[in-house]
């Protein structure tokens, strides 16, 4: 899987490299490589599935396609709260699979060159699933490591 973050030393090819989709969980700002995001949809009715991990909220119908949705809060071990009209589902393409991520709200798209990225603090519990950190204006953005984030779920799909 080509990781767009690491190939960024060249000029951006399609306008997607070096750009990050920012979203909020509580007051923390998180980022995702924009190249992975397919679309953002508002929260809709989710069909619950039995026997799945608690952060797998179920499946939704995206124009006839059935995609699984995961709650980022639950996955990060944060307390869950009711979905409201700011809650969004970010649809990602990871290993050619579509997966939805439920986040509190989507804020903006930001650019960050590779040299602006800082490694996350080590040995910190808060740094789970964080690939890098960068600063934008007065905000600290935590970049989600999607490979790591989905690691538990992806293992079984590679048969």
């Amino acid at each position: 899987m080509a990781n767009t973050e690491t190939t960024a030393n060249s000029v951006s090819i399609d306008g997607l490299t070096d750009r990050y989709l920012l979203f909020k969980i509580d007051d923390a700002n998180y980022g995702l490589p924009l190249s992975l995001a397919i679309e953002i949809i508002t929260i809709q009715s989710i069909t619950k599935l039995p026997r799945v991990a608690s952060y797998v909220k179920g499946i939704v119908n995206l124009r006839g396609k059935v995609i699984p949705v995961l709650d980022v809060r639950a996955k990060l071990g944060l307390p869950e709260h009711e979905y409201d009209d700011k809650t969004c589902i970010i649809v990602l393409d990871i290993h050619d699979m579509h997966v939805g991520l439920i986040v509190d709200m989507v804020s903006e798209v930001a650019s960050a060159l590779p040299e602006q990225l800082m490694p996350p603090p080590k040995n910190d519990k808060a740094a789970t699933y964080i690939a890098s950190v960068f600063q934008k204006d007065d905000k600290i953005i935590l970049n989600l490591d999607c490979e790591d984030f989905f690691k538990d779920d992806l293992e079984q799909t590679r048969v």
Partner: protein, 684 residues
């Protein structure tokens, strides 16, 4: 090799597909003929035509080995066609050799398909075939080992007076002159009674190009009607620069016509003039199909396109119910609208049926493959057995057809290897010397029933049990196993009754893989056997996987779909005392004298909403493989046709398929229902 050439890809695909089809036909003819101990003239012609076409198209794709092997086979059948009486001399060896050749072609095609083509070596087969050819020619031309050169030489000498001779020059630098010459000959075949050329067999040798450029390509033919037809055909052919008629052979045509006509091959007469050699060949193959009535006239479609079409129809079915049961229409009286919706429904139903039927293929060709296995294994193992097939015209979805080839092959191999005894042994046991393996298929409405049966040794429960014990796969005391359970042991992983690994069985692929493969397409397998009498495997596979008739039921906010075929009845419970509660909390109900367990979906899937009161909900009695049981849900929502969608592979980890959910489906209002699989619902 030309496989690297990108532009060749689609041509290659067509070549592989067509050649595969022809090889299947070839095998079929050979097996039939071998059984009948003779080849009819028609079949000799068919084989001749098949090999001729393979030769031509392989040469065009420059697969020289395939082409030259096909050429050698063609030569033999050419000789046999001229003089069928010679057949008896070489009958046995011919079959083996042609089978070998057919296998060689198949291997080559497989390696072409895999994308890493390495030309195989067919020289051994070619040499033995040439030997046979020499035997057939016998006294006529004992020295004629090298047929091509000889014919080339002789063609020049004995041109009968009634033959027209035309010299053709190809455009300069058009390339592949020899192949173009061959294509020209193929085109001319339709309007000529006799046809030869100088040099003969131009497609066989690329070195002839130079010769053709320098001296032209001389066509010697006897026109069917008039020379004008032939000339017209030459004019219409591609890349021809010029031609000249050297002699028109007109004089004696009339007198000899009747004599010559009886000799003319029926095939050449049938095929209409067609633009390129491949098309001409296909047309001929089709002509022979019609006369034999084995295969329908076919067009080949890329399977992904069919899958897309199927998906699209699925969407239409969904969209249709989205319109017809639109919540905005609730409570409105819309007579004309309802009428139109009904019409639409009828059409989408029809559309769906047709798309399904497009994807259906008869099992015939799969059965024929098994024929080969029985024949080959019988010869190798010294066993005598015949395969009796029935219901080859039963149609199944293409995906299912593909999925059952390997399991069937494995089971037939097992039967041949382990079950059927050696002939002496069979005689001693008072069985007919010739063993029988039967393969039958039957459509029983919603399912396809396939049985593989043999009259061999049968399964020995004691042996199986001992073996299972030795392998440590028993889960309860030996005495507690019923016969059926013992037979099912052989389908557990890590169970193989044969100690020796032979060429055919025991490659580490056991019945457990067979079972798994079948389960992937929703099939089940059961075994019946009697020691000393034989074994019967029964496979049940759902007809199609894509669209099911289902009853939607609600449990709280969740909607589930139960396949209609599984539902026996649904009923309300008026009195809670009807339900018997076990000490462990499990519930049962007595219906018509039988006791059925009750499963509450609410509890099974930890659903928080939904009713807990038995008298408020509804009971649905379903039949599963093992037995029946009752499902308790809130209410019935109605009967719908739903398109089964698999769960996203992202969720593979949770193995929902083995826990009662076979997939999901998008309903008319955009919500998703989970499709219950009653067979695995009670797994936990």
């Amino acid at each position: 090799m030309s496989t690297d050439d990108f532009a060749m890809d689609s041509m290659l695909e067509v070549f592989i597909h067509e050649t595969n089809e022809m090889l299947e036909q070839l095998d079929e003819i050979l097996l039939d003929s071998e059984r009948a101990k003779s080849i009819t003239d028609e079949n000799i012609n068919s084989i001749f035509r098949i090999t001729h076409t393979i030769k031509g198209s392989a040469a065009m794709m420059s697969f020289n080995t395939i082409s030259s092997l096909a050429h050698t086979v063609e030569d033999i059948f050419y000789l046999l066609r001229e003089d069928p009486s010679k057949l008896s001399i070489v009958f046995d060896s011919i079959f083996d050799l042609v089978f070998q050749a057919s296998d060689f072609f198949k291997r080559e095609l497989e390696s072409l398909q895999s994308g890493e083509y390495h030309e195989g070596d067919a020289s051994a087969i070619i040499a033995s075939l040439k030997e046979q050819a020499a035997i057939i020619k016998g006294e006529k031309a004992p020295e004629a080992a090298d047929g091509a050169v000889k014919t080339a030489a002789s063609a020049d000498e004995d041109i009968p007076a009634d033959m027209a001779k035309i010299r053709v020059f190809f455009e300069t630098d058009c390339g592949m002159e020899n192949i173009r010459a061959f294509m020209l000959l193929t085109q001319l075949q339709s309007c000529c009674e006799k046809l030869s050329s100088i040099p003969a067999n131009p497609e066989a040798d690329a070195n002839l190009c130079a010769d053709i450029i320098a001296n032209g390509f001389i066509v010697i033919c006897k026109p069917q009607h008039s020379l004008d037809d032939v000339i017209k055909a030459i004019e219409n052919a591609l890349n021809i620069k010029s031609y000249e008629v050297l002699s028109d052979g007109s004089a004696p045509v009339e007198e000899e016509k009747s004599a010559a006509q009886s000799q003319a091959s029926p095939a050449a007469g049938k095929a209409a003039p067609i633009a390129d050699s491949t098309a001409a060949a296909v047309a001929k193959v089709e002509a022979s199909n019609i006369s034999k009535g084995v295969k329908q006239s076919l067009i080949s479609v890329n399977q992904t396109k069919l899958d897309q079409l199927m998906d699209l129809v699925g969407e239409i079915v969904t969209a249709e119910s989205m319109v017809s049961s639109n919540p905005d229409l609730k409570g409105l009286r819309l007579d004309n609208f309802t009428k139109s919706v009904r019409e639409l429904r009828k059409l989408t139903d029809e559309l769906q049926d047709i798309v399904m039927s497009i994807r259906m293929v008869p099992l015939q060709s799969t059965f024929h493959k098994m024929d080969r296995i029985v024949r080959d294994m019988g010869k190798k193992l010294g066993k005598q057995a015949e395969l009796v097939t029935e219901g080859g015209d039963t149609e199944v979805d293409k995906t299912i057809n593909d999925a059952i080839v390997d399991p069937l092959m494995h089971m037939i191999r097992n039967s041949m290897d382990h079950a059927i005894e050696m002939p002496e042994e069979r005689v001693r046991l008072g069985k007919p010397e010739m063993g029988t393996v039967s393969l039958t298929a039957k459509n029983t409405g919603g399912e396809i029933l396939i049985t593989v049966a043999d009259d061999g040794a049968g399964l020995d429960p004691e042996k199986l049990l001992a073996k299972a014990k030795a392998n440590g796969i028993l889960t309860k005391p030996e005495s507690a196993y019923t016969e059926k359970e013992i037979f099912n042991l052989i389908m557990l992983p890590g169970f193989s009754t044969n100690k020796q690994v032979t060429e055919y069985s025991g490659r580490g692929v056991g019945m457990d893989v067979v079972k798994k493969n079948l389960e992937q397409v929703g099939g089940t397998i059961s075994i019946a056997s009697e020691k000393g009498k034989g074994t019967t495997f029964t496979i049940k596979i759902p007809l199609t996987l894509a669209i099911v008739d289902g009853m939607n039921i609600a449990v709280g906010d969740n909607i589930f779909t139960v396949p209609i075929t599984a539902i026996r009845q649904s009923f309300k419970i008026s009195d809670e005392s009807q339900i018997i509660v076990n000490a462990d909390g499990s519930e049962m109900i007595v219906l018509r004298g039988d006791c059925y367990p009750i499963y509450r979906l609410r509890d099974l899937y930890n659903i928080e909403s939904g009713t807990d009161v038995v008298t408020e909900g509804i009971m649905i009695q379903v039949d599963s493989n093992s037995s029946g049981f009752c499902i308790f849900a809130d209410e019935l929502l109605g009967e719908y046709q739903v398109v089964v969608k698999p769960f996203p592979i992202f969720l593979n980890k949770y193995d929902l398929k083995n826990h009662g959910l076979s997939g999901c489906s998008v309903l008319g209002d955009g919500s998703i229902s989970l499709i219950l699989d009653v067979n695995s619902l009670t797994n936990d």
